[in-house]
Amino acid sequence: MSEQRPHHLTWRHAVLLAGMAASLVAVIVRLWQVQVVDHQSYVDQAARTRDGVAATSAPRGTITDATGYPLAMSRDTWDVYLDTFLWRDRDKARDAAFKLSQILGVDAAQTFALGTAQSRGDIPLLRQIPYETGRQLVDEELWGVRLLPSAERMYPEGTLASPLVGYTGLGGEGLWGLESDYDQVLRGRSGMVMTERDPLGRPIAIAPRVERSAEIGGNIELTIDRHIQRIVEQRLDEALRENNAPSGSVLVMNPRTGALLAVASRPAPTSYDKILDHPKLSTLVRARPITDLYEPGSVIKTLTTATAIDLGLVTPTTTYIDTGRVDIPGTEYTIRNWDFQKYGQVTMIEYLQRSLNTGSVWLSSKVGARDFYRYMGAFGLGEPTHVGLSGEGEGMIRTPDNDDWYPVDLATNSYGQGLAVTPLQVLTAVSSLANNGVLMRPYVVSRIAANGEVRTFQPVRVRQAVSADTARTVFRMMYEVVEGVPTHGARVPGYHVAGKTGTTLVSIPTGYDLDTTIASFVGFIPYEDPQVGILVKIDQPSGGLNLGGQVAAPAFAKMAGDIMQYLRVPAGRTPSQVSAR
């Protein structure tokens, strides 16, 4: 007879139960820790392992010229990343590195070392590899090699109009020029697809998916014509070489509309190779005709003359006696003609032809300070033109309202000294004389297409600076300045030109550098129906010639002739037909 087991719990049962209870408690505590305390941590870890965020490319928009040719555009490329988490599998990583070395030409050992140096996260291997090479890698489905679409900015015309068009950094952000000014328009918004992915990084189709579609960057169309821009840059380079000048600027504008057809600036980048490492980058990337101030010199005489004629004080045949010098009353200043000559009785036409400083001083004394500065303001000097580009110079003109204004300023300002303006302001102001006295707002962007909307920019009339009769009269005088002087350097065979030279000394902190000049010329062609207004400015020529008529006017003639041929403008009519204007 076997011994019957006791029905009560023995100490063994108690130990077993206690052990089980303790184990249960331990499990519950661990569950609590995993599910509650460290919940977010594990969720994040799981997400890192499983969830994938793939960027969908949004190419940057295109900048085209007036003919529709792209001056800046984007080319699709790929960025190559190594998934170090997956490359913990050394054998597969070694195979992938070997394959990468075959396709990309990278060193297999270095690639393997790079991808296995850490065990978490993606490491960039190469950026902006060619699109077809990237497609080849995508098709290969290499272990732990991830490709993200990217884009490379390219400039089909090279560095043409570089200071104006601008440049982008590696991240695709605009650094200067239009690329920077219109960055928000040009820059697309990258799309994003967040989904779970398999071990090879491919998205799992049935997994939850969050998607934001990419928005392609907007396109910008300029008023710049690349052929005119190229003509201007080539001729400007020639002029700088011939005159041994360090810098220069050229603007080409349609005087009827204010549309800028070319904006040339030197020095400028000659190559984009390592451009960001250039020690004098800031001197290369300025659109000088828009940002830099200078004393325009005798070009301003056209505006002084227009002011006097508009006020009814003189006519083209009005005369004054040129004694070669003018003493400014109440001061020790004496103003002389640029050639230190005296010409006796001269008409207003002759005064402009000979560019006599005494004539400007005489005119400004008749006009008076208040009206003179009022008209200069009407011509837009001393205020930004609102061309729509960053860094535009505002100009500096002292008026009688300023404490630091002196009566001699009126005299010097009348022939373009003692004031600072931008080339763009000067060309805009003088263009009003070729446009029946109407001042137009210059513009360089004609069309923006972004986010399904198209904005077209029309010419903007700023104000009637002088009457139409005054403008025609002064414009006719500008015609006489060029065509009335048979040896004038700005004459273009087959066409009639209206224009005015300018020569100024270079302003330095202690006054003026008497050894160097800024030579400039503003001209319009053809006179009968001006298609373009051109401002040429050559800084500090040191090739033996230094006057506007010697340095800038011949450069104008060359580029104006080329532009007329390009625009297929018929050759000019006879002078008798001209006088009917």
């Binding site: 969908t56 490319s57 190419p59 040719y69 792209p70 555009m73 984007s74 080319r75 699709d76 699109y131 497609r135 679409p149 390219m154 089909p156 015309e157 090279g158 043409l160 998205p203 189709a205 049935i206 998916r209 690349r226 052929h227 190229r230 065979p493 087959g494 002739g561 041929q565 018929p570 050759a571 009519r573 006879t574 037909q577």
Partner: protein
Amino acid sequence: MAAAALRRAPVTGAVPARRLLGRLPGVALAILALTIVTGTGVLQVMQASEAASAGYDIGRLEQERDRLNAEIRLLEVEVANMAHSDRVYQQATDRLGMVSPTATVRVAVGVTAPEGVPVPSRFTPAVEVVGPLQRPWWAKLLESLPPVR
């Protein structure tokens, strides 16, 4: 006793059937439920399969779309490079043998054209004067005959 047995006999035979019938709805319900569950499961699997298939198709088509868009942009780049000013100049000079003009001839179109200058006779070919052709005798004969209808 026998009568009672007779009365009970059909009853005895009817009981399993009733029981069977009584049980049938439960079985049918179970089968129906099983069918519904199975059907739902199959449908869900089919739906998931369809979704997966459609998802892969969408992904593939999106990749195809992106690839085509990228190729369009690459072609635009190629077009731009082909139309590059320097390349056009190089093609014009190297391949077509064109040269830059050394002089420009301008013709004013606003004036009356000059009178035509007669070309000297020595530069003009002599014109042979040909007389009327001699008609053969039979042609005259045919014309004299009455017309044939």
